[in-house]
Each structure stands twice: as structure tokens, then as C-alpha cells.
């Protein structure tokens, strides 16, 4: 009944919701604007899921249409629903719908309610298009639209200077990555002659005959440049600085864009272009290194942060580092699996944090405490998600994180394995630091009066919690790694047998982290301050986020601004000077002409008059008024006449 071509409707429903909310939301819909977006999202879900189910059963769909023809080349847009995109599509639609339902409750009463949902719908449109895009160009277009929505939504409370600046910072930082992505795309086109995913796939996995003619160094460059896009969008080191500041946006935005979907798009990009990376294995270590460094560094910073959303932001960066590391070690199944599970529990964590903020109106965990009794639903779902993130079995996070650790161990990257293990310990620690400080113990700030959030907000929390619990199963050994095998049908990648050693290590890391956090933060918080004093330099490094913002500001932004100022001065003085000079020159010429006009031309005219007057002053004396003068003249003329005649005779 639902055929593959209906997939075009999936991004189209949110797009229509965007248009409706934008044009009529403010005046006519007001508080009902949320329903337009939610209905569109549910409709997209309803169309997407049956198709995804078919793909899960082994089908693959693709189609395209010609958008425009330039000369001999055509630009074609279309969809490609293969196992990878089907997984992501189902995740995006479900999580997106749940978050929008939550946001209807969270954003109630906001004066720009309908515009919020318009932007969210636009974002959903972009994300869904990206998921099913069949070539790099459409992918990049959707990528950019997502960047725009991110900017708009981070700066949603634009009256706050920090929010406006954060939006700009996010946009510009991801832009740096996007430039790399674009260069990578162009180099790829130059090397392979096509940007279509299926064609690239067939070119790079085909017979060696076709592959002989491909310039591998250019291909490596394009792969690395495409990876730049991921560094920007998925907040990897060194372009991670925008994600913590992006928490200025409303919490549903943080959940949807900066936890579950948009930041995952970077990982999805690597997954999509996996064949390119596999064709030039030399680029893989770069990916792995950056991912590993990111994971460790972000977890280290999260240990000392005090804003509830910042902790979650650094946690997101860290987990994205995990995914990128996995992909760098050719673990496509592991990385994608973690992406799907992370989306659910991270979204749940953010929504829970939003619920806490909504209830207590503070964001600093040092001001919270003992919220378990006052906000039971929130607390319970939050704890479930934290357990999943920490990697406690049998929740989903354990299975996906275990896969990554397994890939690291079994493929021989032992340094990576031990770093990731340490990071897992730190993850568990900081998450349960957060949990214990927020929900347990005594209320630290007497001014904070908490209350549970409305059902519109808590129901999505429970729905996501179910996902967080159960979604580990498809990738676990219990289903014989169905998910990884399912992905391997599209792209071949190594698989490893489960190792009990790895599993034990990860469980130990998780439990010890939770235990340590529990010991310190539920009863003996003074120990935390003591530890902080002892390791003061490390504490400072962690608390100040490795001074990244300060370094960037001093060594990159200020020189750029200086160069910009130089160019501005050049523009103002030389170019404007040229224009002004032209103006002054014209005035000069005008003055010269004026002089010529006044002195020469008018002089000529005046001279004519003067000359005539001169002649006149001579000739007028003839007219004396004396009749006798005239007679005399006549007489003398007569005489002259006679003389003339007579002499002639």
C-alpha cells in the first residue's frame, strides 16, 4: 500500500508544517501551532516506518528525478533507502515526534511559540532529506539548511546577548568544517566524476580494473576534507567549542538537534562515505585519533562542570567521539548502533534536564538536590538514561558501547581501547555525580521550589525510556548481532566475535564509576572539594575547558579580525578614496570649465559688445544734430563726386 515513492512525502510533511507555521502561525494558530508540527511529524513517521520495515526485511529502494540539465550534465535528486538510512530514518522520525510533543508542553506561553515550531519543522525537513538523500549535493544542501536551523534555534532567545553570540559561534564554527566538506566534495567529483552514493559505491568496491584509474592521493584528500565536515558538525576536536555554548537554546532544541539528530549527521556522513575511507585506509588513523582525543577530552571536562546542560553537552561530544573512533577502526556497525542508542538515551537525558529546569527554574546543580521525591517521573527516566549512558547491562548503551570497545580491542588498537575504557569510567562518574547531586541528598538551595512537569512532558520521557531500555537488543549477541549483519549487507566491514574480557572490563568501569560518584556525592561532598584542591592544575584545566575558547580567541579570531580591519582600511581609504578622488576630480574639471566659461567665452561675448561700442563711439559723432553739418557733408561729398567724375574724364 505504501510504496517506496511515498518516501518523498516524508520530508514534505514537515516542510508544509514549516510554511503553515511561518505564514499563519503568529496570527491565527498561536498555541495550536505545535499541533501542526506534531501532526506533520506523525504523518512522516507513519509513511516512513512501513518503508523502513520493508528495508529491515531486506529490501532496498532508490529512485531519482532530474532537477535540471546544464549542457551535457544533469543534476538529479532522489532517495536511497538502504539499511543505513532506514535505521536513521526510523530513529529520527520517532525521536523527533516525541521531542516535539514534549516541546509543546515546555514552550507553552512563549511569545514566539509558532515560530519555534516552524523552525523545528524546517529542521525536521532538512534532517529527513539528509537521511534519504542519494547524492552528496542534496546531502550538502540539507546539511546547510540544518546549520541554518541550528543557528536560528540556538539564538531563539535572541534578546539574550549570550544566546545570539552562541548562535553565531555555532554557525561560524560549523562553517569552517563545511568549507572542508565542500572542498572534499569537489575533489571527490574531480577524482571519481560522480557524487551519487550508489555510483561511488560501485566504483570503489568494483573490480580492480575500474579502480586502477583513480588517483588515490586525491581520494585521500577528499576523504579527509569530507571528514572536516564531521569535525565541524559533530563537534569533534578541534571544532567542538560551539556545542557547549549551543545550550543557550531552549532545551527541546538541545535535545533534538544537539543530542539526537544533527550532531549525529556528521557520523552519518562518515557512514555514508565509508567506502571512500575504506578505499584509502591511510586516512583511518586520523579519524580514529581525533575521535579518541575528543572522547577523552570531553569526558575530562565534564568532570568539573556545574551547569546541568553543559555536563550533558560535553557528554554528547564525548559519545560522538566514541562513534567517530568506531568508524575510524572500520567498525561501521558499532558506530551506527551506538548512534541509534545514544539518540534515545541522550534525548531522554536532555528532556529530563529540561523538565528539571522547568520545575526548578535553575540550571546549576549546586543549587539542586533531593528532587527525587518532588519529580519522580523525571528522576526515574533520568536515572534509566544515565544507566544506559554509563553502560550498565542490559540497557542499550551497554551493548553499543561494548561493540565499540570490542572493535578497538580486537583490531589491535590497544591504546585506543584503554583510553576509551578510561573514558567510560569517567562517563559513569560524571553522570552519576550529576544524578546524585540533582536528585538525591538534601535540597541545597532553599529558594528552589520544585514541581513535577505536566503529562505532556513526562509521557515522551517514558516513551524514550522504553527505547533506551530495549533498543540494545537488535545489536546484541542475543539476536546474534542482527543489526551489524543487517548493515553489512550494504557495506562490508569486519565483524568480531564477542569477547567476555571486553565485556567484563566495560562493566567494571561502569560500576566503579557509579560507585565512586555515589560515595563522594551522596554523602561526602567535601571530599570533592579536597580532591579539587589537591589536583588543582588538573581541576583548573578541566573546569576551564582546556582554555580552548581563550586560545581560539587570542590566536585565531583576533588575527582574523586584524586582517579584516586592514582590509577595511584598504577599502575605506583606497577604494573610497578613489571614488572621492573621482568626485574631487570632477569638481576640479568643473572649476576649470567654469573659469573657461567665465573668462574666455564670456570674454568673447563681452568683447563683441565692447568692440561694437568702440566703433559706435567713433561713428556716432557723425550725428551731431546740426543741419548745417549735414549740409556741409553733403556739399563736400558732392564736390568729391564732381572731382572724381571730372578727373576720370
Amino acid at each position: 500500500m505504501v510504496t517506496a515513492d511515498w518516501i518523498y512525502l516524508v520530508p514534505l510533511f514537515p516542510l508544509m508544517a514549516f510554511v503553515v507555521n511561518l505564514l499563519w502561525g503568529a496570527r491565527f494558530l498561536k498555541n495550536k501551532a505545535a499541533w501542526v508540527s506534531i501532526v506533520a511529524s506523525v504523518a512522516a513517521c507513519a509513511v516512513a516506518l512501513p518503508i523502513c520495515v520493508k528495508v529491515f526485511g531486506g529490501a532496498r529502494f532508490s529512485n531519482e528525478f532530474v532537477w535540471l540539465t546544464i549542457g551535457s550534465g544533469t543534476l538529479r535528486f532522489g532517495y536511497l533507502v538502504d539499511p543505513l538510512s532506514a535505521s536513521l530514518l526510523s530513529m529520527v522520525t520517532i525521536v523527533g515526534t516525541l521531542i516535539q510533543i514534549y516541546a509543546a508542553g515546555y514552550m507553552a506561553g512563549d511569545p514566539r511559540f509558532s515560530r519555534f515550531f516552524a523552525y523545528v519543522s524546517l529542521f525536521m525537513f532538512a534532517m529527513l532529506t539528509l537521511t534519504i538523500a542519494n547524492n552528496f549535493i542534496l546531502f550538502f544542501m540539507a546539511w546547510e539548511i540544518m546549520g541554518l536551523c541550528s543557528y536560528l534555534l540556538i539564538g531563539f532567545y535572541f534578546e539574550k546577548t549570550s544566546a545570539a553570540k552562541a548562535g553565531l559561534k555555532a554557525f561560524l564554527t560549523t562553517r569552517v568544517g563545511d568549507v572542508g566538506f565542500l572542498i572534499g566534495m569537489l575533489t571527490l567529483f574531480a577524482t571519481l566524476g560522480t557524487l551519487d552514493f550508489s555510483e561511488i559505491n560501485s566504483l570503489l568496491t568494483g573490480t580492480s580494473q575500474a579502480r586502477l584509474g583513480i588517483n588515490t592521493s586525491l581520494l585521500a584528500i577528499s576523504a579527509l576534507c569530507i571528514f572536516c565536515g564531521t569535525i565541524g558538525k559533530s563537534a569533534q576536536f578541534p571544532l567542538h567549542v560551539w556545542l557547549p555554548d549551543a545550550m543557550e537554546g531552549p532545551t527541546p532544541v538541545s535535545a533534538l538537534i544537539h543530542a539526537a539528530t544533527m550532531v549525529a549527521a556528521g557520523v552519518f556522513l562518515i557512514a555514508r562515505s565509508f567506502v571512500i575511507f575504506m578505499a584509502v585506509p591511510g586516512t583511518m588513523p586520523v579519524v580514529t585519533t581525533i575521535g579518541c582525543v575528543t572522547a577523552f577530552m570531553a569526558a575530562f571536562i565534564a568532570l568539573t562542570q556545574t551547569d546541568i546542560k553543559r555536563i550533558l553537552a560535553y557528554s554528547t561530544i564525548s559519545q560522538l567521539g566514541y562513534m567517530v573512533t568506531a568508524l575510524g577502526m572500520q567498525g561501521l556497525g558499532a558506530g551506527t548502533f551506538h548512534l541509534i542508542t545514544h539518540a534515545f538515551f541522550k534525548a531522554l537525558l536532555f528532556l529530563g534536564a529540561g523538565s528539571v529546569i522547568h520545575g526548578t527554574h535553575v540550571q546549576d546543580i549546586r543549587q539542586m538536590g533531593g528532587l527525587f521525591k518532588k519529580m519522580p517521573h523525571t528522576a526515574l527516566t533520568f536515572i534509566i538514561a544515565s544507566l544506559a549512558l554509563a553502560g550498565v547491562p542490559p540497557l542499550s548503551g551497554f551493548w553499543s558501547k561494548d561493540e565499540i570497545l570490542l572493535t578497538a580491542f580486537a583490531s589491535g588498537h590497544s591504546l585506543v581501547f584503554w583510553t576509551l575504557l578510561l573514558t567510560a569510567f569517567m562517563t559513569a562518574f560524571y553522570m552519576f555525580r550529576l544524578v546524585f547531586m540533582t536528585f538525591f541528598g538534601k535540597a541545597r538551595d532553599p529558594k528552589v521550589h520544585a514541581h513535577e512537569s505536566p503529562a505532556l512532558m513526562t509521557l515522551p520521557l517514558w516513551a524514550l525510556a522504553v527505547g533506551a531500555i530495549l533498543l540494545g537488543i537488535p545489536g546484541s549477541p542475543m539476536t546474534h548481532h542482527w543489526f551489524q549483519r543487517f548493515l553489512a549487507h550494504a557495506i562490508h566491514h569486519p565483524e568480531y566475535h564477542p569477547s567476555t574480557f571486553v565485556m567484563t572490563c566495560s562493566v567494571v568501569a561502569a560500576i566503579s564509576g557509579i560507585a565512586l560518584a555515589g560515595i563522594i556525592y551522596s554523602k561526602n561532598i567535601r571530599w570533592a572539594e579536597a580532591i579539587a584542591k589537591t589536583f588543582r592544575p588538573l581541576y583548573q584545566l578541566s573546569f576551564n575547558k582546556f582554555y580552548f575558547d581563550e586560545i581560539y580567541s587570542k590566536y585565531i579570531i583576533r588575527p582574523f579580525n586584524a586582517v579584516g580591519a586592514i582590509f577595511f582600511k584598504f577599502d575605506a581609504s583606497i577604494i573610497d578614496g578613489a571614488v572621492n578622488g573621482a568626485g574631487t576630480g570632477s569638481l576640479w574639471i568643473g572649476a576649470v570649465k567654469n573659469w573657461i566659461d567665465q573668462h574666455i567665452v564670456d570674454g568673447l561675448v563681452n568683447f563683441m559688445g565692447t568692440f561694437t561700442r568702440l566703433l559706435n563711439s567713433i561713428v556716432k559723432r557723425l550725428q551731431t544734430g546740426f543741419v548745417q553739418n549735414y549740409l556741409l557733408i553733403a556739399f563736400l561729398s558732392f564736390l568729391v563726386f564732381i572731382i572724381w567724375e571730372l578727373k576720370l574724364i
Partner: protein, 171 residues
Amino acid sequence: MDLLQLAIKTGIYALMAGTLVFALGVVMLKNLFHAALSLAAVLIGTAILYLVFHAEFMAAVQILLYVGAVITVIIFAIMLTEHIAERSIIQRNKQSLPALLGVLALLVLIGKVLLKTPWPVNPSTLDARVSVSDLGVALMGTYVFPFEVISILLVGALIGAVVIARKDSRP
């Protein structure tokens, strides 16, 4: 006979000289009245010259019209407009020298031409004596047109003089 002719010739030459002297008096005398009287003398002298030419009618007309009427009118005008106190005013204007030179040049030139020209003297005319009746016939016969024109001219002049000299009696 010779003596008589000689005397007559001398007399005529003396007459001509006297007329010229009186003519000079006309143009040079400061007192206008004297000038007018000199004019009268000139006219009389001319009349006598006409008698020499056997043009008695002309002489009579000359005396009647010129000396009688014209001089009278001139004397009237002089009397009407004379400023008796201005006897010492120069009667020559600034251009007397060029005029003199011009006139002398004229005299010399035309005199030269005159003397060179062989005038065809017609002896029959010399002896002819024109009577008044001949004159009358000619006037009414051959020359009736100019006669009539002259009459119209006279009428016109009459009216014109009256109009010009009329006192402007508009209030």
C-alpha cells in the same frame, strides 16, 4: 557809340561787382537787418541785370515778388524774432573754414569747366525779344502743367505755413 558801350559795359561790370559785394554782406553781416537789406540790394541788382538781358518782365517780377514780398516777410520775421541785445554774437558757426574751402574748391572747379566749355550761342535767340503776351501764351499753353502744379504748391505752402505758425491754442 564806343564810349556809350564802354560806359554801359563798365556799368554792368560795376553792377555785378556791387551785387557780389552786397552778397558778401548778406552772408557776413552780423546784424540780420542789415543782411536783409543787403539781400534787397542784391535782388535789385539782379533785377537790373535782367533788364540788361532784355528780360523786362522778369525784372519787374523780381522787384515785385522778391524785393516787395519776400524781403518784407523776412523783415517781419526778423523783427518778430530779433534779440536786439545780441549784436556781438558771432554769426559764423564752427564749420566756416571747411565751408570756405569747399566753396572755393567748387568755384575753381566749376569755373574751370565753365570756361572750357564752348557754349553754343544761338544768334537768333540773341536777337529775340520776348513779349509779355508770348510769355502768357507759353505759360498757358506749353507750360500749363507746371503752372497748375505751382498753384497747388502755393496753396499747400500757404496752408502749411499757417498751420506751422499758428499759436498752439489748446488748453
